[in-house]
């Protein structure tokens, strides 16, 4: 029954950048950058609101990947967790199942384990790791001080 669900990839509020075999996605609402590996990118791009999980898993059957449906479920779980699907999807996998499946994929599959790496984009001040402190001790009260210890001239100490 759950395999009849037709997940839809979120379209709005995202910046998407293709690399050779990965997708870079920037969530404008969450200010979060993500890197989808090839497996996850393939699943996400197949989530058009019409393809069922079974339909999507055929992409991997063509690659003779074992456990193709489970691979898709792992990817769908991750996509949902990172806010990359329009609607909630009822997961097929319990956490125990997920661990088992990940083991199986890792050892026996021609397809890479689905992975989404992510990080919250820093503000410009944090990106340069300078703080907003103009005097020693300011870092304790300045919310923009990333380290809470600085040398009092706008440079954070380790």
């Amino acid at each position: 029954m759950k395999n009849n669900q037709t997940p839809k990839a979120r379209q709005s509020g995202l910046v998407v950048q293709n690399t050779s075999n990965e997708l870079l996605v920037y969530d404008l609402d969450a200010e979060k950058a993500m890197c989808l590996n090839e497996t996850t990118a393939t699943v996400w791009q197949a989530c058009n609101g019409q393809n069922s999980i079974k339909d999507i898993s055929r992409e991997f059957e063509e690659l003779e990947a074992k456990n193709s449906e489970q691979i898709v479920w792992i990817a769908i779980d991750q996509l949902a967790r990172h806010g990359l699907l329009e609607d909630a999807v009822q997961s097929e996998l319990s956490s125990e199942n997920r661990r088992e499946v990940l083991k199986k994929i890792g050892f026996a599959s021609a397809v890479a384990v689905p992975v989404i790496a992510s990080l919250v984009a820093p503000s410009s001040v944090l990106a340069s790791a300078s703080c907003a402190c103009a005097a020693p001790g300011d870092c304790l009260t300045q919310p923009s001080c990333p380290a809470s210890t600085c040398n009092g001239s706008g440079q954070c100490a380790p």
Partner: protein
């Protein structure tokens, strides 16, 4: 080039205006001596791209106010940033924020906090925070004959080429672990490159005492994602930033590894670069 203070019509405050990397900035103050000191530093803050402009169509406004009791505070675009009774502290911090403001809003460039040297015609880029050892690594490369490009920013254009930001190198460890002493690249025996170069390597490495250099290759996507942490305009211009970083990180050596002393790591990085580049 000297940056002249101008009167603000209908008031006693002065203003100095400049354009750098496409960003039009106006800095005004009721404390002209302090403002002149800031104006005198502008060419050093932006060594490759700065020009005085008139005070029309200013995009980013910085206001410095000296209160009657001597407290100096400044605001950027109407938001209070910081203040202090120490003129020196405000001065140094203000310069850092002027630099950040341009780096964040530059329209045609992506500023990444990184050290950069040129080795055999390619830019070797080491993204990292302050205190991550960028300058030590840059200096170690210079000692091996690399040309100097930047110890502060890698500036990428729309094609992914790296442009220089040849400010003086800020070297810590001479006075104490925090105080930076400025040296020109020439004082350290290096040549400063001034033309844009294609990237040849992205290396991410945090110093750890006695750490072995064991480079792990990174994909383009992983490299861009790691670089995002040090990319100043990522929130203001995410699409442009990702596009530029992806171009810059394609067809280059990409790796990460903990590292020990810079003098030990630099030759290993060169060996790694030369072994894996075409």
């Amino acid at each position: 080039m000297s940056h002249q203070l101008k009167d603000i019509e209908g008031g006693r405050d002065k203003i100095v205006c400049f354009e750098s990397y496409g960003v039009r900035v106006g800095i005004s103050s009721n404390y002209p001596d302090f403002l002149q000191r800031v104006a005198d530093e502008l060419d050093d803050i932006f060594p490759t791209d700065i020009a005085p402009i008139d005070n029309s169509n200013i995009e980013r406004r910085i206001e410095i106010t000296r209160k009657e009791d001597g407290f100096i505070e400044f605001m950027i675009d109407g938001e209070e940033v910081s203040g202090s009774y120490s003129e020196e502290n405000v001065f140094r911090f203000l310069l850092s924020r002027i630099r950040l403001t341009v780096a964040e809003y530059a329209t045609s460039r992506v500023f990444v906090h990184a050290g950069v040297v040129i080795w055999k015609g390619k830019a070797l880029v080491f993204p990292g925070n302050s205190f991550s050892g960028k300058t030590s690594l840059v200096k170690a490369f210079i000692d091996l004959g690399a040309s100097y490009f930047s110890d502060e920013y890698a500036i990428f254009d729309e094609n992914g080429l790296v442009h220089p930001y040849p400010k003086t190198l800020s070297i810590r460890g001479i006075v104490d672990d925090f105080t930076q002493v400025e040296h020109t690249a020439e004082e350290l025996g290096a040549v400063t490159e001034t033309e844009p170069h294609p990237a040849g390597m992205f290396y991410f490495g945090q110093y750890e005492e006695n750490a072995a250099f064991e480079p792990k290759p990174l994909s383009v996507g992983e490299t861009v994602l790691k670089t995002v942490s040090f990319t100043l305009p990522i929130r203001v211009a995410p699409a442009f930033s990702l596009d530029v970083l992806q171009k810059a990180a394609t067809n280059v050596i990409r790796c990460e590894s903990k590292r020990g002393e810079a003098e030990i790591t630099a030759p290993l990085l060169i060996e790694h670069f030369e072994k894996h580049s075409n």
